[in-house]
Symmetry: C2
Subunit: 729 residues, 2 copies
């Protein structure tokens, strides 16, 4: 059975080398005119500088956490944390690199070939580097951790169960392989949090700042070279939408994969499953992920090797995704069937497998279906082909107040449908495969993550290419191609968000089960053991935790929005200053000072990201040491439920405002086109929605996962040592 | 002991007769000039017409519910429901009546006397009618229900425990006095829901409609007689802020009072408390409420009988409130001490009374303190004396997008502090007096409700008086007095909101405990019985319920906002039409058609209120019959937690936007006064915030209570008969 891990190794090698090949092949292409080179270089330098600064800060914080983990929990946990952090940081960095190379080459391809299909190929090749790296590095890290600390895989159950790890401070504390795995997941999460939050603040501060003065006051179009904030805006796409997205989805992928593995280990520790069965439960997610990655390599290669791509961009991308997903679905069917074939039927029943060896596969299908349906629901609420967004555009005729009101209403109403789908997935995957099924569903969603990330990254690359084309004054035909690519990117992004929030919710819930395992007493094996896993919200301490937990995502979101607004206002002031002081900017006679704007965005975001991130990491731990594990359990469930709603609300209202503006620009509202007062109102909606959908929404996805992961790591200590139990309360 | 009920009867008689006296004394005052009479009559006619229509619809829905309750549960429950509905409807109606009499008389007092103190007295006298009626009718209804169905009070435990009631359809179903009480609470809730939602949509549709065209397009001030929507706006204050508020707080008061009583009955049914102790547990909340009401009569009389009121309006009102609260605090101390004095110490320990006979009093103090602190926090986040609102005003310099963004951020961040206070109250009141303590805390907050409602009602009366003064062109001195009264009303409203959300949360949680009692099996008296009360959120069905429940307040809020926006847009179109078609409106030469605007608001709100209200009532019941009691338990906790956050968020961001605008108008932002672009931006914020703070926020308070009440009523059926258990899932 362990030999199946070779599939994982193969997948990693295949993915990373294909990524390297694509990287070099993109880099070898022509950059175009001098003006284009100049702009691309400015973007590249800005992005590099930001990531360097950011990684310095994150490196320090990460080192502190690693040392704390090593000292308090076990050195293995600390090392695994570092491996996770390095994997996540590398994926983000590679993605940012390739995006800053690909953007100008996409523009140049559009300029030279004038062919939509060929240009799509360049953009997608760039995106594929990111997609393959995300999944490849994630799996690579897992493989290292498993081989390094799981050691002889035949005895992996001994590692979970027997081989005891010790921290330095609490020698009585005994932890096992679970902690090491959690440490790895936490490493990925921490980087993802900082990348998402830092990048999210950067990109939206620049974007809002550029729009607020450029569009609203000076009435110059987006990406106009006369706008001093425009390069910062393009840098933002690379550090926020690319690097942020990359480490975000790497973290989701790892979370989905390991939540099942960790749960298996916990069940083994509690002697619910035997070592033999654990072996299967542990290997299945890893190999499933490996098979999915191979599927993605095939899907991506299909698109890149195809002779001639049609003009139907969305369809071409869909085919690549569907090939990847198809391989994952068929592969997981075979894996589920064969891996669990010889497992003891009774043992499977005990952990809730109702359909025998098919159970994990059916659960995974529930997950995949849920991701797609939630994506479709997001599209319904945010695309201007449907009523909700059209209504927002219509409301803009009456001024910006009604644009905002209508958008808020749409976002709020949009919470119900995806949540019902999610509830069905939870109930269904649990019904067929118990708690393990929920993590299978999460992994199902993310098994073809390399393909979805490739598609998601191609979007901002095309967006950037459009910016470069505009700034280099490349003419309408070029812009038409990049615009077309960009608009498809917006649709795929909506679907990507469905996967992100759905998988985050499922992974977090699965982690919470492990959390409960970690501090509960003996399992009552006479009755259904799952009934022993209790988080009783009517217990006052848990209830209080749930209330405070539910307020946390609000506070976190509010702080992020405020951070964006603060940085954006500084940007506005700077842009206004330049318009006033540098004569001839608006006539194109003088060049604006792009660099100062980039610095404002960098400094603003690096300064503002720290407090909310540290709060997110610290609150579960600190409150655990004061109030104990029941309270933190409440925090986790409260925060998860509350964050899911807020994330959907923010994502959908933001997306709907964005597209309502585009609908007006495309002439959808009769008599109120570009430049009308209705258009101005819709720009206000778009500006308000920007930080909601691109900073707050994605950060909330990470928040719930990082909170459950860090609680899982810390609970072994604070369930024993906390102020409340010391005081005898 | 039962003789103490005479205190309640005395309080009711005292309060209602004092209210009648004040009503007549206000009505006897002079109305002023012919123009004033004319305007006041138009407002009165509009308000009367709306309430009549609304009560027709509510009457039909209420009758249907009453019949269903009578047939399915017991005739007693049906009758109690009707009594509750009549009490709530009457309170709303009386409040609306007196407000439409008092408004013009306040304006006239300002005109004739030019004295702030004297005018305050008139306004407060009007408000006091509402305050006294709310508490008086609530207690009157409870008294009727207790005397009618509780019968011989010495045997009240037999009624809870022994005397069995039957429905017609499920003859096996056995219910007791608990159901009757729940039916009464439900009657109050249903009316409150419709009054709040219907009135909330009415008032904000008119307000937004008037502002959107008047302030933003035609640049005429608020309450200008040239604005056709202005009378509708003033009608709205009376049906939304007065009638809606009245039945809302009546419902809160009843909920807080009965949640403890119902819990006591359930504990008696489960044989946790003896009949003797139940007697005390049952009487304590009623008599506490009665004493509180007597305190309010004293507090109100103090203000009204005082020879000369100072110009410090806020201080005068505070003294009245503090006298009322002081009597309630001292009275409840004595009640707690003497009523529980002879109770068996062991029996008190079993229900979690850690401080013996002082326990309920300490819990009540926790509640009172919490209400005040939450109010102070709301004030911090929404008053322009503090940083958050000043920041919003400052952000308005950069345009409306940043006004909105900053307001959203403020609202989100503002959730944490009040929730922590609430958590402390829950933990503290539970620690001293168990689950019963939580309901004591809720009742503590609302024990002097008559005083707070009097103060809360005086606000919209003064607001209306200002409107009438403006429309009758009464001159600046008059307007200065009404403005002063109005602005104090805004501050007191913020504190009132703290009490509303806090008490709603506590009452709902207390009801949920009773809900768990109603379908759980036997209590394990060997260990702590409270540990048997389990709502396990890790149970998949409960978890799914919690997710769907958390989405419910969002959907409900979104629908309300959309309803307001829809009605407001119709109003905007009508106002524009009149400006275009009726020549000479803006020059004051022609009279606008006020009546059509009133009709638009009426029809819009009556049409739009039905769906969200029916959804709120139906979802817990319908899903209970499909998925059973565990799922509904999840819905209740999910909805409660989620609604608390949304209500705080909506209330505070709305309030902050409102005051940011006022701050700019008062010249707080240097160089950006009234009429500047910053002011325009702040008006956008105010308009967006209006439905959030005045329609959504208060409606959410009711939502969580009505859901827990209706679930409590229906659970006796659906815990036995539901699709999932029939299918064996």
């Amino acid at each position: 059975m362990e030999l199946l891990l070779l599939i994982v190794a193969l997948a990693v090698i295949l993915a990373v080398s294909y990524a390297a090949f694509n990287f070099l092949s993109v880099k070898r292409m022509e950059e175009g005119t001098d003006r284009m080179k100049e702009i691309a270089e400015a973007i590249r330098i800005g992005a590099n500088a930001f990531i360097r600064y950011e990684y310095k800060i994150v490196g320090i914080i990460g080192a502190v956490i690693a040392v704390i983990l090593g000292v308090l929990i076990s050195w293995q946990t600390g090392v695994a944390f570092v491996i996770g952090a390095v994997m996540s940081a590398t994926a983000g960095w590679v993605g940012m690199k390739i995006a800053t190379y690909a953007n100008v080459r996409v523009a140049n391809s559009a300029r030279e070939t004038g062919d939509l299909g060929k240009t799509l190929k360049v953009a997608f090749k760039g995106g594929s580097v990111m997609g393959l790296c995300v999944a490849g590095f994630a799996l690579f890290g897992v493989l290292i951790v498993v081989l390094l600390f799981g050691m002889a895989l035949g005895q992996i159950s001994d590692v979970a169960n027997g081989t005891v790890q010790h921290g330095l401070i609490f020698p009585a504390l005994e932890t096992g392989f679970t902690m090491t795995l959690s440490g790895y997941a936490l490493g990925c999460s921490v980087i993802a949090l900082f990348n998402r939050v830092g990048g999210g603040i950067y990109t939206k501060a620049a974007d809002m700042g550029a729009d607020l003065v450029g569009k609203t006051e000076a009435h110059i179009p987006e990406d106009d070279p006369r706008n001093p904030a425009t390069i910062a805006d393009n840098v933002g796409d690379n550090v926020g939408d690319v690097a942020g997205l990359g480490s975000d989805l790497l973290e989701s992928f790892v979370g989905a994969m390991l939540s099942g593995v960790i749960l298996g280990c916990e069940m083994c520790v509690k002697q619910i499953v035997s070592g033999e069965l654990l072996n299967i439960l542990l290997l299945f997610p890893l190999i499933f992920a490996g098979v999915g990655l191979i599927g993605c390599v095939i899907g991506i290669a299909y698109l890149l090797l195809k002779k001639k791509l049609s003009d139907q961009v969305h369809r071409e991308l869909n085919i690549a995704t569907w090939i990847s997903a198809g391989v994952a679905i068929v592969g997981s069917f075979l894996l589920s069937f064969f891996m669990f074939q010889n497992a003891d039927a009774e043992a499977l029943k005990v952990i809730g497998f109702k359909l025998g060896n098919f159970s994990p596969w059916v659960a995974a299908i529930f997950g995949i279906a849920t991701g797609i349906i939630i994506g479709m629901i997001s599209e319904y609420y945010t695309s201007y082909d449907f009523k909700p967004t059209k209504n927002i555009a219509g409301a803009s005729k009456e001024g910006s107040a009604l644009t905002i009101t209508q958008g808020l209403a749409t976002g709020m109403i949009s919470c119900m449908a995806p949540v019902i789908v999610l509830a069905v997935a939870i109930f269904g995957s649990f019904a067929v495969a118990g708690m393990y099924g929920i993590s299978c569903a999460a992994l199902g969603m993310l098994s073809f993550v390399a393909a979805t990330v490739s598609v998601d990254t191609y979007g901002p690359i095309s967006d950037n290419a459009g910016g470069i084309a505009e700034m280099s004054e490349l003419g309408k035909e070029v812009r038409a191609i990049t615009d077309k690519l960009d608009s498809v990117g917006n649709t795929t992004a909506a679907i990507g968000k469905g996967f992100a929030i759905g998988s985050a919710a499922l992974a977090a819930l699965s982690m919470m089960t492990s959390y409960l395992f970690a501090f509960m007493g003996d399992i009552n094996m006479v009755q259904n053991w799952m009934d022993s896993l209790v988080l009783n919200v009517m217990q006052p301490l848990t209830l209080c935790g749930a209330l405070v937990g539910a307020a946390l995502p609000y506070m976190f979101s509010g702080m992020l929005i405020e951070a964006v607004a603060k940085a954006a206002r500084k940007m506005v002031e700077e842009v206004r200053r330049q318009f006033n002081e540098i004569k001839g900017i608006l006539t194109g006679e003088a060049k604006p000072d792009y660099k100062t704007c980039i610095e404002i965005s960098s400094q603003g975001s690096l300064k503002e990201m720290r407090v909310p991130c540290i709060i997110a990491i610290a609150i579960p731990v600190v409150s655990g040491f004061i109030f104990g594990a029941q309270f933190v359990g409440g925090i986790l469930i409260g925060a998860t439920v509350s964050a899911i709603m807020l994330a959907i609300f923010c994502g959908n209202s933001g997306g709907a405002w964005d597209n309502a503006k585009k609908y007006i620009e495309s002439g959808g509202v009769e008599g109120h086109g570009k430049g009308s007062s209705a258009h101005d109102a819709s720009v206000v909606g778009d500006t308000v929605g920007d930080p909601l959908k691109d900073t707050v929404g994605p950060s909330l996805d990470i928040l719930i996962k990082i909170m459950s992961t860090i609680s899982l790591v810390a609970v072994v200590i604070f369930s024993e040592y906390n102020l409340f139990s010391l005081l005898g309360l």
